[in-house]
């Protein structure tokens, strides 16, 4: 039988071919195993990947590229949707980087808002002066970076009017905010000048309560929640990237919606 097999050359060739295949098979199997273990390793070391410096640097670069993309996508004329008052979320959730019992208490009698940096006009503001300006209100959706959303009603002064009165250089890149709770954030100028960007003094028709940011909160329905600073005490118009509390830890800077 075997003699017969080896008699004709084509058969012999086939056998050698098969043998060669068999030899290759372990290598192939090993390759398969490696693929599996590489995937397994990638899964297991999930947290290690996150700790890697070069990968973190790459992720931050892409995040800042995404800032540019969002600036392009941002249409200054496009308004965020507004809702009827019946759709307001009650109670509107409290949200901060601390618990509700740590909300800062700001004394309205001594409070002064400072607007600094690239401004030529009014630098120091009292609450009364802000209340004396034309007020408007809007019912909009607050979208948190965590994913949840809630509808609320904020009222106050259009931020573009405040910047105009302050004589701000609106060709500057950034507007930075410093808050009584040591929170900070910063936004792009086109968003600062957007028609729905309000320096709000009231919530649902009442003076802004401490839990929602007394004495004032910058409300932008075109940006995520963490970009909307509360308890603002100082505003700076600048061309130097100011960063922010969450942004410095890795949240995307533009944070547009």
């Amino acid at each position: 039988m075997s003699l017969k097999l080896f008699k004709s050359r084509p058969d012999a060739e086939l056998i050698i071919k098969d043998a060669a295949k068999e030899l290759k098979a372990p290598a192939r199997r090993l390759f398969g195993k490696r693929i599996l273990s590489l995937g397994g390793l990638a899964m297991l070391s999930g947290c290690n990947i996150t700790d890697d410096k070069s990968i973190n640097a790459m992720l931050r670069r892409i995040s800042s590229f995404n800032d540019d993309v969002q600036a392009l996508l941002f249409d200054p004329a496009r308004l965020a949707p507004t809702y009827p008052e019946s759709m307001i979320t009650r109670p509107f959730p409290f949200n901060a980087f601390y618990d509700i019992d740590e909300v800062p208490e700001v004394d309205p009698s001594t409070y002064k808002l400072e607007i600094g940096g690239l401004v030529k006009g009014k630098r120091v503001w009292t609450l009364d002066e802000l209340h004396a300006m034309p007020q408007e209100s809007q019912v909009t959706r607050h979208i948190c970076i965590e994913g949840w959303s809630a509808i609320g009603k904020w009222g106050g002064v259009r931020f573009a009017h405040v910047l105009a009165r302050a004589g701000a250089d609106t060709s500057a890149k950034y507007v930075a905010f410093h808050c009584a709770d040591n929170y900070s954030t910063s936004i792009d100028m086109p968003t600062a000048l957007h028609a729905q960007t309000l320096l709000t003094l009231t919530y649902d028709g009442q003076i802004l309560p401490p839990k929602y940011g007394f004495p004032m909160k910058l409300r932008m329905p075109t940006k995520l929640g963490y970009k909307n600073p509360k308890h603002i005490v100082a505003i700076t118009v600048t061309n130097d990237y100011p960063g922010g509390y969450w942004e410095n830890q890795g949240y995307n800077w533009f944070g547009g919606s």
Binding site: R28, G32, A42, M43, G46, C47, I49, T50, D51, M58, L59, R60, I62, S63, N66, Q70, L73, F74, D75, R78, A80, P81, R141, I143, C144, I145, E146, G147, W148, S149, P221, T222, W246, Q249, G250, Y251, N252, G256, S257
Partner: protein
């Protein structure tokens, strides 16, 4: 003869890589504010370490997912592969093949030919990725894309669509990997092309 052309193998594996990152980082993001209280993903199978890290991964891998997906679909259409390998497809053939598969009577001898269930699954997952991308875009930019937001039923609803899109994708992945384990030759083919 090449059964799986090089462009297909490259886009397949890039897609697998992108989907793995998108899903595991997406689970971490989901955990920050679960849509369904009873569904939370164990941190051992999530990527990013915390919400901020997961978002960085998610919004980095999205470019790979979208760019690669566009190349994949465009090549499938222009080379005629989509028409050749996914069609003709009828509901009757899907049902027939599905019953045959359940009885264990569906052969995988000829890997150059997809059975009707396979064709349907591959087409469905392509449509699902479109849904996942569009709903994700609606969640990310609900103000800038009003039409997309309305199409999804609103911001909160877009999150739900995104979640079920992910669920289908993961279900596909599980079945896909089980089938590959049953027919290992298909894995070799997706690597070597033959």
């Amino acid at each position: 003869m090449q059964i799986q052309p090089l462009w297909l193998r490259i886009t397949h594996w890039l897609n697998a890589f992108a989907v793995l990152i998108m899903v595991t980082s997406g689970w971490q993001i989901y955990n920050a504010s679960p849509i369904f209280r009873s569904i939370v993903f164990p941190s051992a199978i999530t990527l990013g370490g915390w919400l901020g890290g997961a978002l960085q991964w998610h919004f980095a891998a999205m470019w790979l997912l979208v760019a690669n997906f566009i190349v994949y679909v465009a090549m499938n259409v222009f080379t005629g592969r989509l028409r050749r390998r996914m069609f003709p497809l009828s509901i009757r053939s899907i049902v027939t093949d599905a019953f045959a598969a359940l009885r264990g009577k569906l052969g995988h001898d000829d890997l150059t030919h997809y059975n009707a269930v396979q064709k349907f699954a591959y087409l469905a997952v392509i449509v699902d990725i479109v849904i996942v991308i569009l709903s994700g875009l609606a969640v990310w930019k609900s103000v800038q894309f009003p039409l997309l937001r309305t199409l999804m039923g609103g911001y909160d609803e877009a999150r739900v669509v995104h979640f079920f899109g992910m669920s289908f994708l993961v279900a596909f992945f599980v079945v896909h990997v089980v089938m590959v384990a049953l027919v290992p030759r298909s894995l070799v083919m997706m690597i070597r092309g033959r």
